[in-house]
């Protein structure tokens, strides 16, 4: 593969930035001005000296080609990761106008790259030799799991009691009882070590304030929570796949143990959601050969970007391992055989009718599913009163956009991209509507991110 072949686009480089400020600062350093002695090596390492405000320039080096993901080192004092210098240097490299010529790395860069590669090699051989050293005592682990199951059962039973009390008195009273009651119940579920239940209970508390139609939504969510409680309490009688789904919805830890699937995985979308404590990054992948869709989750403590970054439009040759649960899309990233590289693959698409049908089918395996990932083919963003829908170009059917999607600036990028013509759109399709995440124009053109 030539150097040009693995070069990233500027958008893909900017997707590595931990926050908007870094993206901006990095952009400004992406011009030849402050850089000297910049260079790159075929295997995908990039280095350079960046003039800062001090007398000594910063030494920046990046290893983009390592299969376990890009790595950065910079002598600047920034605690951002990657720092603006690393981003700027990568942009310069991505620009490809000769500012980062091929060459031999200087000693200071070479040393770091060698050390890094060596450590990775050591780790791989260590993993290969003795992998069972982790869980020392399977008997103790089993006892821990049993103790936890007892607590979850107690929590689920208590929650059932709360739900029946609520239904006995009527949902109409829920508007007055306020958020405090649900907060307290959620705290009880945390004590019961059932974080999945706790999260659902907390969301119940927000529904009475969520506008017209809230009683219907509250009843739906109460019913599904009841269904989950009952699923847990009778998990012994459920089919194995559904029981795994219930465990995962309750929030019990599981490890990806499915058979590894190697494919060329195209990155369809990557987006973060943040709450007070945690940033969750969701990365949707499409297997070019298997046709499978998979979800990678990675987490960062509040205010910090999750570590795994896969820019949209890249494809990676890697193994994924599925988590347990019927219809489970979540997977863990296993071995990567080559660094992510730009790819012109587009996923095949469905009609709107096929998309809703796919959601319906997915509910059989997981009735708690809010949406499924779907690529729609030949849809036209269409105004519908105060809202928007994606209308099939070839049939008189359409999927309304979710309220959240309508409020995002990405909506207008989608409308502009389409210009009234059919486009291909990847997104999440469920009972609230469709949330577009990525779109491809008619004809040639790169994927456009919509969030």
């Amino acid at each position: 593969m030539t150097q040009q072949g693995v070069r990233w686009t500027a958008d893909q480089v900017l997707a590595l930035a931990p926050d908007a400020a870094s993206r901006k600062a990095g952009s400004k350093l992406g011009a030849a001005g402050p850089w000297s002695e910049a260079g790159s090596a075929d295997e995908g390492t990039v280095w350079g000296l960046c003039k800062g405000s001090g007398s000594k320039p910063y030494q920046t080096v990046i290893d983009i080609a390592d299969a376990s993901g890009p790595a950065y080192k910079c002598s600047c004092p920034s605690r951002k990761f990657p720092c603006k210098h690393a981003l700027g240097l990568l942009l310069l490299w991505a620009g490809g106008d000769g500012a980062v010529p091929p060459g031999q790395p200087p000693d200071w860069a070479e040393e770091w790259i060698k050390g890094r590669r060596q450590r990775a090699e050591d780790k791989r051989s260590a993993d290969a030799s003795g992998s069972s050293t982790g869980s020392a005592d399977p008997e103790a682990a089993r006892r821990r799991a049993e103790r936890r199951a007892v607590r979850v059962t107690a929590g689920a039973t208590e929650l059932e009691q709360r739900l029946t009390d609520l239904l006995r008195g009527g949902l109409a009273g829920a508007e007055q009882s306020g958020y405090g009651l649900w907060e307290e119940t959620a705290a009880r579920m945390v004590d019961a070590q059932a974080p999945g239940l706790a999260a659902r209970v907390r969301e119940l508390g927000a529904i009475p304030a969520s506008g017209p139609g809230w009683p219907v939504r509250l009843l739906e969510e109460c019913a599904l929570l009841h269904l989950l409680d009952q699923g847990w309490l009778r998990r012994e009688r459920l089919p194995a796949g559904l029981a795994d789904t219930v465990r995962s919805r309750i929030g019990l830890p599981a490890s990806a143990d499915g058979p590894p699937v190697r494919d060329r995985w195209l990155v369809l979308a990557q987006y973060d959601t943040a709450d007070v404590k945690l940033t969750t990054r969701r990365i949707w992948l499409h297997g070019a050969d298997s046709g499978r869709t998979a979800l990678l989750l990675s987490y960062g403590a509040a205010g910090r970007a999750p570590e795994l970054t896969l820019p949209v439009g890249l494809a990676l040759d890697a193994e994924l391992t599925a988590y347990p649960g019927a219809g489970q899309l979540r997977a863990a990233l296993g071995e990567q055989f080559a660094a992510p590289a730009p790819a012109a693959i587009r996923p095949p698409g469905l009609t709107t009718a096929e998309a809703t049908a796919r959601y319906g089918v997915a509910l059989r395996d997981d009735p708690w599913l809010d949406s499924v990932p779907v690529t729609l083919d030949r849809v036209i963003p269409t105004p519908d009163g105060t809202s928007w829908q994606l209308a099939d170009a070839d049939a008189d059917t359409a999927l309304p956009l979710t309220p959240a999607a309508r409020a995002r600036p990405g909506l207008w990028r989608l409308v502009a991209l389409s210009g009234g013509a059919p486009v291909k759109v990847f997104g999440e399709c469920g009972h609230r509507g469709f949330t577009p995440l990525t779109a491809w124009p008619q004809g040639a053109g790169d994927a456009v991110q919509l969030y």
Binding site: T9, D11, A20, A21, K24, A25, S27, K28, G30, A31, G33, P34, K51, S53, S55, G95, D97, E160, L163, T164, D165, L166, L167, R168, G170, A172, P215, L219, C222, A223, L224, H226, T356, Y359, L363, R364, P367, I380, T382, P383, D384, G385, Q389, A391, A395, D396, T397, A398, L399, P400, T402, W412, V415, A416, L417, G419, G420, H431, R432, G433
Partner: protein
Amino acid sequence: MNSPSVPVDSPAASAWEELVTAALLGTDRRTPPGCAPGREAPVALLDAAAAETVRRRAGLRPAPAAQRPQPAPEDPRPALPPAAARRLAMLLADRPGAAGGGRRGTSPDLVELLPEWLARANDRGLAPPPEVLPALLDAARGRTDLRPAALTFAGPRAVWLARLNPDWRFALRATPGGGAALPRLDDSAKVRQLWQEGLFAERVALLSAIRAREPGAARELLTTTWATERAEDRLMFLDSLRTGLGPEDEPFLEQALADRSRNVRATAAELLSALPGSALAARMAVRAGACVALDHTGDGPAIGVEAPHECDASMERDGVVAKAPAGRGERSWWFGQLVEAAPLSTWPGRLGGRTPREIVALPVTDDWRGELHAAWCRAAVRQRDAEWARALLGSPSAPEAGGPGAVSLAERAKLLGTLGPAERAEWVAGFIATHGLSEAFQLLGVCAAPWAAPLGRAVVDALNIARDAGSYPWSFSGVMGLAERCLDPAEASRLDGLLAVPDEPEDASPGAGGYWAEAFQRLVTTLRLRGAMIKELEPPGPAGF
């Protein structure tokens, strides 16, 4: 409704309604359908609701499609090269006030580069990638100065988009033909219809478009409805005649001199006086000539001024404003207006066959010099007379050119506007070399960007001198900002010697050297960025490297 549509009149729907009602009221008050009252009723309700919820979700169907939008018109322009498209997205992402801001630090102010970027992209006739249009429209919405270039670049799809989003309405108003498409200008029936029935903005757009192509046709169109237009509209329409003003417009303008509105009269008079061959200009030449004569009573020839003693009705009819503003003498006020409106060609004949330069050099009796020269300046600007402008500007290195003389900096900037770009740059370079930068800001503003090489060098040299003088760079932040946008990026390498922090002289302001180094780094970084930006917009070179 947010969710995809649900069949409303199915039996399942009514079962669901009953469940919702029971849930709202509570099972103590309402027993849900199909179960016994009592302790178990809430559980039965939840069981039934769970089944219904999953059934409802699993049975979702797509909604009927609404009326699809008309497809956007084709944009025939070639697409931006990928690197230029990425650069644009970056420039647009850099919103003012997003982080830090201000003129400190070493990194460039990207938003300031947008005007140049847009101008160059428009010169090349390139089309934007559609997905940047929302950001482009948002930028144009926030900055009216960017609008014309941004909307030209944004092209027809942006107008299509603006019809769908009220935030971008301005694009419909600002783009000619954005609201209701302008008819083809050779379709006279359509033109006449729009002129008679269109909104004011559409009519102004139509008139300007026709005037730009066929001045006479625009004037004739205007004549058809002139008598019935409102005064403020007449003023705006008359203003459009500035484009392509010529002797053929004289009869119409003469007629407008009798207008009911004073502002219309004044504008008509101003336009006529910009036509040196017009009857009004001739009348003004007679009036002004009567006030100015050679005076041989002193040691050498001088100009004597006898200001008018009254402002008669015919003068008023020719646009002379009779009432002087507070603080001005009436006679000098009238005199200034007469000289300003008289053709400059009057003067050599009147003043002994002298050239403009010789005339300007003549002494003027009784302190009338300032008044007379100022009026000549206004006349030179109005009549776009480069020879007179040159004479009035004088030599840039003359000592009085730097201080507040007869001709103010603002007037000098306007006079410079009548000269060609090269001559303008040369004059300002000479000015800066003699007088430094503190007075130069206004003059630099009228120079074409990128600055010609001698001007760029003069500015950099002057900045270098200012640094060595030991003051802080922010006294020159205005010029620095201009330099970032206007210096030719090819000059960036000439600045390399200025990037280091210099040794501080004893009398320098503390830390100034460091701040200067920072300011120059920022200048160089910006120039390099502009250089890269411009290269990305250039047509691809011949095959090979």
